[in-house]
Symmetry: C2
Subunit: 70 residues, 2 copies
DNA sequence: TAAAAAAGTAATATATACTTGACAAATAGA
DNA sequence: TCTATTTGTCAAGTATATATTACTTTTTTA
């Protein structure tokens, strides 16, 4: 897994801290941090919650062209 | 969680069985079945693998308008 | 209408997402 | 430069996605 810079950028564009986004998405700060760093493979429901919090779609933030593994 | 009829339809459009899709996505038939029935909250990587297998995007298959819970 | 294939279901086991709490490192603001 | 905020990290615990095996029910097809 690689870093999710799209998410980091979308969060920055909304001027939200990791804590802010975590609260909005209903998870902990550590979970958001791990997702941005590419250490977790989040559930799609969490992805949707994150997308809604930062005003983006799944394709915007989680559709990378090169990721084949499960 | 509710049924994923978009996925079921996309699979049917490709004339794939749950087993076919499972093989293409690298998971078991039961996992695909559970996802279509809305019993699992799949990882985003698995969602991407499924999307690629049926020629759809994340927004096509996993972006429901009404899903607020994590 | 019978057999075959596909889909649904269930139990047990394992891997990992996610939590909690705590602390260190980095960044930003006074 | 000092302080507060934000981010990164780690260890231990809980919840759940996914695997495996096996069986039943439904659908397809010959």
């Amino acid at each position: 897994m690689s870093k999710n810079l799209n998410l980091k950028a979308a969060r920055a564009a909304k001027d939200m801290t990791q804590k802010d986004l975590a609260d909005a998405a209903g998870v902990t700060r550590q979970t958001i941090n791990a997702i941005e760093l590419g250490e977790y493979n989040p559930s799609v429901k969490l992805c949707v919650a994150i997308c809604r919090a930062v005003g983006k779609t799944l394709n915007d933030l989680f559709w990378e062209e090169n990721s084949n593994e499960k």
